[in-house]
Amino acid sequence: MNKIFLTLSALFFLLTSCEKVVNINLNNASPQYVVEGVVFDGTDTARVRLAKTTDYYGISPQQILTNATVSLSDDMGNSVVLPYIGWDSCYQLSGFTSISGRKYTIHVLVDGLNIQGSSTLQQSVPIDSVSIVYKTDGFRGAGYEVATNISDPANTPNFYRLVTTINDTLQNQPKDLYLFNDKYNDGKHIRTALKRRFKSGDKITIELRTMDAAVYDFFTSLRDALNNQNGPAPANPNTNLIGGALGYFGTFTRSKVSIIVP
């Protein structure tokens, strides 16, 4: 609803508003620990990146911490250590197998701090189909509209994210955080259109991820922190980590479809 409202505002201010880059003096906060831990379903590489915050306008790349002890456990009593390998600046373990329904916890010991985060791997939901329709109406003008169709599992809250790759480029801007849940349509067919138009020959890969409520909450609040800074109270995303760190630990299922617009 807010987006509709923003569109409405945009129409109204089309002629009058102007945008420019300005110089705002900002304080430099003391650096904080940032954890980004990801486990996918099936057998894949489990990864944790540990870094520190930098000055907002800082030009140096963020400081990666390599001196931590990182481990990953599940609620069945299994535990593995994730060594720092250096590739992609991550603590990682390849060939890690995760199972839906299990709760996974990461443990990060760094500089005397014990950071933990848990996430339960959800059931995978497949993409039933992708519909491609040529459209001339709607907010986005003429072109092909691409939408995913899924069948939401009934009587359970489900949380989704779509990650798209268009013509071999991963769509990774704040506006590309496609997040939705089944709050209004539990157990129904859910159709989600990508918020842009496509042309013939476009190559699109759509990955549907499911996650638990806390991780979804992190991503929606991340989206707000990135896209809606003019709300009454911009805030850091709601982390599911305890022990005093920014970031998240998430387990995700994935189902992927690739298409080429005819």
Binding site: N2, T16, V22, A51, Y184, R191
Partner: protein
């Protein structure tokens, strides 16, 4: 009704009735029959005895038997004398004529020249809608709220916005009354216009401190707007044609001198510009609002008078048949004035108010309607009892039935949405009050009152309970009419004035206000989808205590009014939101709220010139507004968004000649408190801002100059034609509307701040007519 409601009658002082007689009656405008509010009735030779007319033009003056000459006066009108032999109660109705307004003549723009000093009321600002006509405003649409924003202690909620903050309070702490009916969303079109069409208004008073006991229900202020009654002498029409909106008002007698009506309408046509677009999608869009004010009154016999007034306004937005969004207020007030005796005036009102919005989506693969509404029925009884010239007693009660329908989704056949409805809410709000405005000596006057208010949150509803993190831990179903939570409280109101001499006085006041309804909004300016929620088992009523004191002085024979007022306020049970709160269509929305307290203080300086060719005012406010929430900012006190430390407004109107008037206003204020990042980090390959404290930064300072010119091309007794030209933001300052932090698109490793400004040089032209 709660038994405490009855106790209050014990506070009504008893008065002895001596061998006195009462003169009572009405004061009206001779030309159009409109009641004159605040006209002064005084006794010649006894300057300290007098009365003033109330909101319906009624006055009552009790004197010992004898011969008197009464003087009726109202500023801008010729005063009238009436000789009376007082041997029994007497009714004297008076019509006053406007003085011919020659340029050199002194024109006063408030009801009484020395009111600033002599009235017990403080913390109030009164506007005559006629006199703000030349104040330049955005899009040339004259607007009482935007003019009030230029006065001390009142701040605009944002660039060009009709929302406002009073003395550090939030936008939902203003009780906005249109002919006694509360208006729940007082803005049109994203807040750039208020719902008040100046053509239909007679009198506007903003109480920001020392709020009289007759008003209650909001924490910070009361904006009391009264509609015109319509011309009871002859038919007339007036209106204006502007770039963005046009207005038309028709008025006339129902039966001459017995009753009159007024109909005033307004519609914007900003969407006509969209038609110029060569984009089909924009071309087929709708974006407009309209509003309609209606009022009729009729005098039945000598003692009774009926008034019916209504307002209906709607904003309509549509996007090429696939999306529609409309919202608006409707209010209606039926009033019965009855003169019980020459000393007791009664007014009974039945008031209806509704605000709702509707969103329709109808595309090839979606079809649904979302609706939401709040509705009130309010029965209100007010008495004015004037036992003698030294006491003016008001007492009464009211009972409001609130119905909340927070949201309903109706899915069409084509939709994959489930039909869903958020639980409705029901509440009864009652109040009983008594107040007396009392002159103790020539120099000392007090106004003291007490209000008792109660609020019953009741079924049928589901009451939820939440843990400290906002997770639902329980729910209980209540049947229809069953009380879930009852809140009540005493609201003392007292103010005193001491006249130091003829030209200066000091005043002090204390008031406590309860607020049982709260507005949840996840935007910084007003949005049609903002949600009103009642106090409940989770949400406690807001309580605001205000202490204020001031010094008032008139200079050069009341030519200049000067006032300095200071205030200190404490606010309890304030509401804020959890990080990432979901306020949209959320059954468990109360779990998204956190509670805290606040305080606000400030000093306001006003120099106002009401007479002569040059008129206007200079306003300066120094103020702070702070909040403290355990769940926010590690429990440390932080500035509220409306915490703008310095606020200056200069309003100047100058009559160049009888036909040409120029005006200008300049505003400056410290930027609002705002949250900016103090670091950044990387998540998912994106640069994420790191916030360390709530509202720890400031927006850039804001300033702007507006210019206006009114050219009267024709003016006779009956007709008037004029052109109004205005230029908003005359020196084109790019004021920051918002500042966002984002990746530099040219270098993803870097970040930058981007400022959006809305209006630079907005010219407007309006043609006004009257015949």
């Amino acid at each position: 009704m709660h038994f405490k409601f009855l106790l209050i009658f014990l506070f009504i002082p008893l008065f002895s009735f001596s061998q006195n007689h009462t003169i009572s009656g009405n004061v009206k405008d001779a030309a159009n029959g409109e009641d004159i509010i605040g006209a002064i009735v005084s006794v010649k030779g006894k300057s300290d005895i007098g009365a003033a007319t109330n909101s319906y033009g009624f006055y009552s003056l009790t004197l010992p038997a004898g011969n008197y000459t009464l003087v009726y006066q109202y500023v801008g009108y010729k005063s009238k004398e009436e000789t009376i032999v007082l041997a029994a109660n007497q009714v004297v109705n008076i019509s006053l004529s406007m003085s011919s307004r020659d340029l050199d003549e002194v024109i006063v723009r408030t009801e009484r020249a020395d009111k600033n000093v002599s009235s017990t009321q403080m913390g109030a600002f009164k506007l005559d809608p006629k006199q703000i006509e030349s104040v330049p405003v955005l899009f040339g649409e004259k607007d009482i709220i935007k003019t009030l924003q230029l006065t001390p202690g009142v701040k605009a909620a944002g660039e060009g916005n009709a929302g406002f903050y009073v003395r550090g309070g939030a936008a939902d702490q203003n009780l906005i009354l249109l002919d006694e009916a509360p208006v729940y969303n007082a803005s049109h079109m994203l807040g750039f216009f208020s719902v008040f069409n100046s053509d239909a208004l007679k009198d506007v008073t903003l109480y920001k401190g020392a709020i009289p006991a007759e008003f209650g229900g909001r924490g910070s202020s009361v904006l009391d707007v009264k509609m015109r009654d319509g011309n009871s002498k002859k038919y007339s029409a007036s209106g204006g044609i502007g770039l963005i909106a046009s207005r038309l008002t028709l008025e006339g007698p129902i039966v001459k001198d017995k009753g009159s009506f007024i109909i005033s309408g307004r519609r914007t046509y900003a969407d006509l510009f969209l038609k110029l677009s060569n984009n089909d999608r924009i071309k087929n869009s709708k974006l407009y609002f309209y509003d309609l004010n209606l009022k009729a009154n009729y005098q039945i016999g000598k003692k009774d008078r009926l008034f019916l007034s209504g307002y209906f306004g709607r904003d309509v937005f549509g996007f090429s048949n696939v999306f529609g969004f409309d919202w608006g207020n409707s209010t209606a007030t039926l009033r019965w004035n009855h003169i019980l005796s020459s000393k007791i005036f009664s007014n009974t009102s039945l008031i209806f108010s509704n605000y709702n919005y509707r969103i329709k989506i109808n595309t090839s693969n979606q079809d649904l309607t979302i609706t939401s509404a709040i509705q009130d029925w309010n029965l209100k009884q007010d008495f004015t009892f004037i036992p003698n010239p030294n006491n003016n007693i008001k007492f009464g009660f009211n009972l409001i039935d609130h119905t909340f329908k927070p949201g309903f989704i109706k899915a069409g056949a084509n939709s994959n949405f489930n039909n869903q409805e958020l639980s409705g809410r029901k509440a009864l709000e009652g109040a009983i009050y008594v107040q007396n405005e009392m002159r103790i000596t020539d120099k000392l006057g007090v106004q003291y009152g007490l209000r008792y208010s109660g609020f019953d949150f009741m079924g049928s509803a589901i009451a939820y309970t939440f843990d400290a993190d906002g997770n639902k831990i329980g729910e209980k179903k209540y049947s229809k009419g069953q009380s879930i939570t009852y809140y009540d409280g005493w609201e003392p109101r007292i103010s005193a004035r001491y006249e130091l001499n003829n030209v200066s006085s000091v005043k002090a006041a204390y008031n406590r206000n309860f607020q049982y309804l709260h507005l949840l909004s996840n935007s910084t300016t007003s949005s049609p989808t903002d949600l009103w929620v009642p106090s409940s088992n989770n949400v406690k009523p807001q309580i605001v205590d205000q202490y204020s004191a001031g010094y008032f002085r008139n200079i050069k024979d009341n030519m200049y009014e000067v006032s300095v007022e200071g205030y200190y306020k404490t606010l309890q049970n304030q509401i804020d939101y959890r990080n990432g709160a979901d306020l949209v269509f959320n059954e468990l929305v109360e779990g998204e709220l956190v509670y805290g307290k606040g305080r606000a203080y400030g000093v306001e300086l006003l120099v106002r010139k009401n007479m002569g060719r040059l008129s206007g005012w200079v306003s300066y406010t120094w103020s702070r507004s702070l909040r403290q929430f355990d769940a926010i900012n590690q429990g440390k006190e932080f500035p509220a968004r409306q915490d703008r430390i310095h606020d200056v407004a200069i309003v100047v109107m100058y009559d160049l000649s009888k036909k040409l008037k120029i005006s200008g206003n300049w505003v400056y204020y410290t930027g609002s408190a705002v949250t900016f990042p103090s670091g950044r980090y990387n998540i998912n390959g994106m640069q994420v801002p790191y916030f360390t404290e709530r509202n720890g930064y400031r927006m850039p300072d804001y300033h702007r100059l507006d210019l206006g010119l009114t050219w009267i091309t024709r003016k006779t007794d009956r007709t008037e034609r004029s052109w109004n030209f205005s230029l908003y933001n005359a020196y084109g300052r790019q004021n920051a509307y918002s500042i966002s932090f984002q990746e530099n698109p040219d270098n993803p490793q870097q970040t930058q701040a981007v400022q959006v400004s809305l209006f630079t040089w907005v010219p407007a032209i309006t043609y006004n007519f009257k015949f």
